[in-house]
């Protein structure tokens, strides 16, 4: 069966099959024959003839993983072909949301709705774990909406403000 995986900025097509109790994987010209053992939840030992690869797999979100193997950490996403989303080019045209990068607290609001904003100018200051970070505008334009007040507790990925 064919699988598509995005891993560390690379797109891999993996042909995966089972024969004689072993997993056979083909990735481009590279071939692997592996015995698979899962000694505990979230751990997969992939055993080839000359090496054991112990993989600690953390499912961060559905179909999104962080794998620790051989001292290296890889972030991977499995692409579901049926529900494949077309990746949009990241640009700063039109309206832009200022997203909270982490859980924390709004300690200061520097600009208000209607204010002009320059590229890279701080719009608000967020404190998490005792460090204060300015949330900066990704573009020059105008603050058209401010969705939080000073003192508000915010969660990661929450929209804090909108600039246009």
């Amino acid at each position: 069966m064919k699988h598509e995986v995005e891993i560390d900025g690379n797109h891999l097509d993996i042909e995966l099959g089972q024969r004689d109790g072993r997993v056979h994987a083909g990735i481009g010209a590279r071939e692997y024959t592996l015995e698979v053992v899962s000694p505990e939840v979230g751990v997969f030992c992939l055993i080839s003839d000359d090496r054991i690869f112990e993989c600690n797999v953390w499912e961060r979100e559905p179909n999104s993983f962080r794998v620790f193997v051989g001292g290296r950490t890889f972030d991977s996403t499995i692409i579901d072909r049926k529900h494949r989303r077309i990746a949009t080019e990241h640009n700063t045209e039109g309206r832009q949301n200022l997203i909270a990068p982490m859980h924390g607290k709004v300690v200061r609001v520097l600009l208000h709705a209607g204010d002009e904003v320059a590229l890279g100018q701080g719009v608000l200051v967020v404190e998490a774990m005792k460090m204060q970070n300015e949330i900066k505008s990704p573009k020059a334009g105008k603050v058209i909406e401010l969705r939080v007040d000073e003192g508000a507790t915010i969660t990661a990925h929450q929209v804090l403000a909108v600039v246009e």
Partner: protein
């Protein structure tokens, strides 16, 4: 006639039965361990966010002190004093951070008839304010970095002073520590925003917004001397710690000894440090921080009048327990060792494992730890404040654990650290472990060639390097990781009942294979 005074004083030194630990996280756990080792019952305190934290679980008693924000719990002096009285503790250990360097707290402890496991109020005041500390060091004959000796009264004054000293300058919180309330300012147009950020950080971290200015020394090393003093005027230094590996002026990796300090320089720095401590009338464990330039000149930077985060590396190399000694000294005992008895043996390194995402500009990564595997084996010391299933709160410092190694020399310690870092696994939150795994592979680090700017340069060169990281092993590991991801997604989408039997079966197979391998390699 002979004086009975020292003799009778000795008779009154009775070791505490109960100590209140006014802190949280790994340091509260570490102090509780020390208490148990010397027969003291540890009492801890906790906020709403820390009800189920490790430092509560390891104590004999724990006292609730209020809501999650530290300004309403760990920083409220009255609540800490009440907790100590209520529990019947005779002494309070403040750990680091929070109230540990707050003279109002030290005074309140004294007024309440309790003992602070810390310095006398007078010494804390003198050395706690960085401006008067600079004056004290200068008077004791130690070299200091050019800057203001008084707190700044306004941003206008800051601008004027910065102009006089010349950019770049550092803005620092007078009550500061741990990289909070600290800003590097390279040019006049940055100073206003830096001033207000540093001031508000200082206010929220230390309840004291005052700032001062110091000339910024380019590419210095940050090396500090550990010392401890008793009430009889004995002051002993326990070698140095190399703390140059910093990010945002916060230490991330420390070692003992420093790769650039030889016996001669150690003695000069150690004696300067002892001189400063004596001039301040200091008692307790303390640290004198120095900047060391490329010509190995050293300048007094500040004194930390408390136990340091990185104290374990000194303990590993000197074989002395600083927390035991702190408690004994606070109870009025003499230091259990003299300067001549301090011997440095081997090398130790500490990594501060933070709940921060190194791939996302080290943003805090609070959340639930779904998996935690602690490393073990020879030469490992693990000081943690978390456990599997615990949720790292958003309110406090994101230190998850301190991972230390010891070995016979520096290069063996680095090899051991590389092994140990690969044994530690944390899932559920991002941590700085992958970052440390990269650092130990870096040739400049292995050679001991770095300054306080190393991490920033390392991070910017690394982002270029990883883009064309393409060895054969790297490719294979990436393939394996991708295959494991697919297998994992299949396992989580269809957890079958039959899997249990298959897994058990193959576990035996794995065991067989592993023992086969072992007998082959033996």
């Amino acid at each position: 006639m002979f004086s009975l005074l020292p003799f009778s004083f000795r008779l009154h030194t009775v070791m505490f039965k109960k100590v209140l630990i006014a802190n949280r996280g790994e340091i509260a756990v570490r102090i509780a361990r020390a208490c148990r080792e010397i027969g003291i019952s540890p009492v801890t305190v906790f906020s709403d966010a820390d009800r189920a934290s490790l430092h509560v679980r390891v104590a004999d008693q724990a006292v609730h002190i209020g809501p999650a924000p530290s300004s309403e719990s760990y920083l409220v002096i009255d609540k800490i004093i009440d907790a100590a009285k209520w529990s019947g503790a005779e002494a309070i250990h403040p750990g680091y951070g929070f109230l540990s360097e707050n003279p109002d707290f030290a005074e309140a402890v004294e007024r309440a008839g309790l003992i602070l496991i810390g310095p006398p109020v007078s010494a804390m005041k003198l050395m706690g304010s960085k401006t008067s500390a600079r004056r004290t060091a200068q008077a004791a004959g130690a070299p200091v970095v050019p800057g203001t000796l008084q707190p700044l009264s306004s941003v206008e004054e800051a601008e004027q002073v910065a102009q006089e000293i010349g950019y770049p300058i550092m803005l620092k919180a007078s009550a500061g520590g741990g990289g909070k309330g600290l800003r590097l300012v390279r040019s006049p147009d940055e100073i206003r925003s830096a001033f207000s950020l540093a001031q508000s950080e200082a206010a929220s971290s230390f309840s004291d917004a005052s700032l001062y200015i110091e000339k910024y020394i380019e590419s210095p090393r940050h090396i500090e001397i550990q010392l401890i003093a008793d009430v009889f005027g004995n002051v002993v230094y326990l070698g140095e710690r190399e703390c140059s590996l910093q990010r945002r002026h916060q230490k991330v990796l420390e070692e003992c000894p420093s790769p650039v300090v030889d016996a001669g320089l150690r003695k000069r720095m150690g004696e300067a440090a002892v001189g400063i401590a004596k001039a301040a009338g200091y008692v307790n464990a303390g640290t004198i921080e120095f900047l060391v330039d490329n010509e190995r000149n050293f300048y007094f930077l500040e004194m930390n009048t408390r136990l340091q985060v990185e104290h374990p590396v000194t303990e590993l190399v000197t074989g002395r327990d600083l927390v035991h000694e702190q408690i004994r000294v606070a109870a009025g005992e003499r230091l259990s060792f003299t300067q001549d008895e301090i011997v440095m043996r081997g090398a130790a390194i500490e990594c501060r494992v933070y709940a921060e995402d190194p791939d996302n500009n080290f943003l805090p990564s609070p959340g639930r730890i779904t998996k935690l595997v602690m490393p073990a084996g020879p030469g490992v010391r693990y000081d943690g404040g978390s456990y599997q299933g615990w949720e790292v709160p958003i309110y406090y410092d994101p230190l998850v654990a301190k991972l230390c190694v010891w070995a016979e020399n520096r290069s063996a310690a680095i090899d051991r650290l590389a092994r140990v870092l690969n044994e530690m696994i944390v899932e559920g939150i991002s941590t700085t472990l992958p970052f440390f795994r990269d650092v130990v592979r870096n040739e400049d680090f292995r050679q001991g060639e770095f300054d306080t700017g190393f991490i920033d340069r390392f991070l910017s060169s690394k982002s270029k390097e990883t883009k064309h990281r393409d060895g054969e092993l790297e490719t294979m590991l990436r393939d394996i990781a991708a295959i494991a991801s697919v297998l994992s997604s299949q396992a989580s989408s269809s957890r079958q009942v039959t899997a249990t039997r298959a897994e058990t079966e193959s576990r035996w197979k794995l065991h067989g294979r592993l023992s086969q391998r072992r007998s082959q390699t033996r």
